[in-house]
């Protein structure tokens, strides 16, 4: 009798393991640490994530697999192929940038340090495990490991009503999605008798005709849980509330790492496991993609720039729209002869999106250092206050929009677009083109806001503008309490038109921002450097889009 003991390739699982163990270490250290040393934990986290990223290097051949069955067809539960590595790089890198963003947030909002870093690392470990898992049980567990700490992270602000309610909404809808997903998995298991993705694919190839409907239903239901994490419409409604209710770095984390968990899970179950049912999930994902990008972009369009947290809300809705683009290649995979090639475009797009979206969140955090309202109007004339931040933000927004000089955004969009055209999904390509155009509007409007000229003189303020400015709720702008006309110290609540608002723009804003925390600067610099590097050499990312990853 062969031994049932599976061998464990510790090097292959190292990226996940290092992340998880760092989390445990941080949690235990926190228990015995004097409060004044707590900031150290953040740096331990960052070091751990960097180490986890380094652990990816020995795996670059992409041929490692572990937790394999010792009998039968030797299916493996954990495979470190190129797809897994690319997504793990995204997850670990995203978590690293989030950690840099969080260092100041944890201190300022007095979040419990040990718990915060532990939850962040646990969630990252789950998200890193997900792309490497090759059986449905591991997939579901990884999905939950990625999500459960995220609920707690959203609700971590103690005594804050919005935070708690956002967490409850996120949590309840997510667990329902998981339950539905599990029901789908049970149907698939009923039809195929296996949980390993490859065996499931083999089993679905010749399903008992009587079980055909059951298998198809199982396939569709399984997608729900992952589509939820990706925030695909109609599973998106938790997004704006959770992002606004959560601490800002957590929102950034959800928008990047949470999404990567969703799309990598979707890619695995559709392209690897459910390939024989491509005619079922292909159209489903195509419709989902079209709905998602349209809903996200239209809702982003409707954000009013003067509302509290409008910047975060806009980023939230734009992330829903971006999720739609992520879905396009996956849907295309359902129509294409070589579905694995399509997945590359999604991964490439996700990498681009991760870098620039985290960058955008970092700049929003930077602006919130002086004006904590997270309003879009707080970004007005950022260029005159902090030219570097404004330039990087403009770059990030243009990348998200897909315009030069955000070359990488453009290339990634073209790669995604091409998959739709190649696989004969003309209508989806058209929908995407329309959506990219819609998105241009709000991204460019925001960019224009950054570079709006601050007018210097009070006399130019029209009586009407002064009236709006005085009656409207003032944006909290510490450090601007200079005596003068009340209308000039408050950032004007824009009345829709940028031009009208700019006449009364905060002339007395401090021209140099108060000391900006270094980790935040580091995060922005890192994201900007990555974005520029990728724009200079887009072939780095596009190689992903052309080769097969599995």
């Amino acid at each position: 009798m062969t031994s049932l003991v599976q061998s464990v390739d510790w090097v292959a699982v190292a990226p996940v393991l290092v992340t998880a163990l760092t989390g445990l270490a941080v949690l235990v250290t926190d228990l015995f640490l004097a409060p004044r040393h707590k900031p150290l934990l953040g740096w331990v986290t960052i070091a751990g994530l960097a180490l986890a990223a380094l652990c990816l290097i020995p795996l670059t051949d992409g041929d490692r697999a572990t937790f394999c069955l010792t009998t039968g067809d030797r299916q493996c539960s954990y495979v470190a192929d190129h797809f897994a590595l690319a997504v793990q790089l995204l997850v670990v890198g995203g978590a690293l940038l989030t950690a840099l963003l969080s260092v100041t947030t944890v201190r300022r909002e007095a979040l419990p340090a040990g718990e915060y870093w532990f939850l962040l690392l646990s969630s990252a470990a789950g998200a890193a495990l997900l792309p490497a898992s090759r059986d449905l049980a591991t997939l579901i567990v990884a999905l939950e490991v990625a999500s459960l700490p995220a609920f707690a992270l959203v609700g971590l602000r103690r005594g804050d009503r919005g935070s708690a309610e956002a967490a409850l909404k996120f949590f309840l809808s997510s667990v329902v999605a998981t339950a539905v997903s599990l029901l789908g998995v049970s149907f698939v298991y009923a039809a195929t008798g296996s949980l390993h993705l490859d065996t499931v694919a083999g089993g679905l190839d010749d399903v008992d005709p009587r079980l055909n409907a059951l298998a198809a239903l199982g396939v569709v239901l399984t997608l729900v849980g992952f589509a939820f994490k990706l925030a695909a419409v109609p599973f998106h409604f938790w997004v704006p509330d959770s992002y606004v209710g959560a601490p800002l770095p957590v929102a950034a984390y959800l928008s990047v790492v949470g999404k990567s968990a969703g799309f990598s899970g979707l890619a695995l179950v559709t392209v690897v496991a459910f390939r024989p049912y491509a005619d079922t999930w292909g159209p489903a994902l195509a419709v989902l993609a079209a709905l998602t990008m349209t809903t996200g972009n239209v809702a982003a369009l409707r954000q009013r720039p003067d509302q509290p947290a409008s910047a975060v809300r806009l980023l939230a809705w734009s992330s829903v729209g971006q999720a739609g683009y992520l879905l396009v290649p996956l849907a295309a995979a359902g129509y294409h002869d070589d579905p694995e090639e399509m997945v590359g475009a999604t991964v490439a797009y996700a990498l681009m999106y991760a870098v620039v979206n985290l960058g955008a969140f970092a700049v929003v955090a930077l602006v919130a250092e002086n004006r904590p309202g997270h309003r879009l109007t707080d970004h007005r004339a950022l260029f005159s206050r902090n030219p570097l931040a404004a330039l990087t933000m403009g770059f990030f927004l243009l990348c998200l929009a897909g315009l030069p000089p955000g070359v990488i955004g453009l290339f990634a969009k073209v790669a995604v677009f091409r998959t739709a055209v190649d696989s004969g999904l003309g209508w989806l390509a058209v929908v995407m083109a329309v959506n990219v155009t819609i998105a241009l509007y709000y991204y460019l409007k925001w960019t224009a806001l950054l570079f709006a000229t601050p007018t210097t003189a009070t006399p130019t303020t029209t009586p009407a503008a002064r009236a709006t400015a005085t009656t409207a709720p003032a944006a909290p702008t510490p450090g601007t309490a200079t005596p003068g006309a009340p209308g000039q110290a408050t950032a004007p609540t824009a009345t829709g038109s940028t031009v009208a608002g700019s006449t009364a723009t905060a002339a007395r804003e401090p021209s140099v921002p108060a000391s900006v925390p270094h980790p935040l600067t580091a995060a922005i610099a890192l994201a900007a450097a990555l974005g520029v590097a990728l724009s200079g050499a887009p072939q780095l990312i596009l190689r992903l889009a052309s080769g097969t990853l599995f």
Binding site: E165, L172, L182
Partner: protein, 99 residues
């Protein structure tokens, strides 16, 4: 006993759970309904495992139970936090985030 009966029971439990999630307003009850759905899945897994004669279904049932327990704990913690702030566990009262 015919294993199909267990499937009927599982389907019934899942339906009750899903209906409860949609209809009930108390967060704790909604939450119990989610647990019902998860356990219905477990029952289905174990039944299918029996039908197929392999253990995969039982293994995933174990993991589902653990996932469900972890969900209970996180969920209860969130509900407790809301209760501390608002003294109500109704989902409808959680309306601060409405647009």
């Amino acid at each position: 006993m015919n294993p199909v009966n267990y499937l009927y029971l599982s389907a019934l439990l899942f339906t009750i759970g899903a209906a409860g999630v949609l209809v009930r307003r108390n967060a704790i009850i909604v939450f119990m309904c989610v647990e019902l759905m998860l356990n219905a899945c477990n029952l289905a897994f174990v039944t299918f495992s029996r039908i197929h004669g392999n253990l995969d279904g039982q293994i995933i049932a174990f993991f589902t139970m653990v996932v469900a327990a972890a969900e209970v704990v996180v969920g209860l913690a969130i509900i407790l936090m809301i209760f501390r702030v608002r003294h109500s566990a109704s989902v409808d009262d959680a309306n601060l985030m409405k647009l």
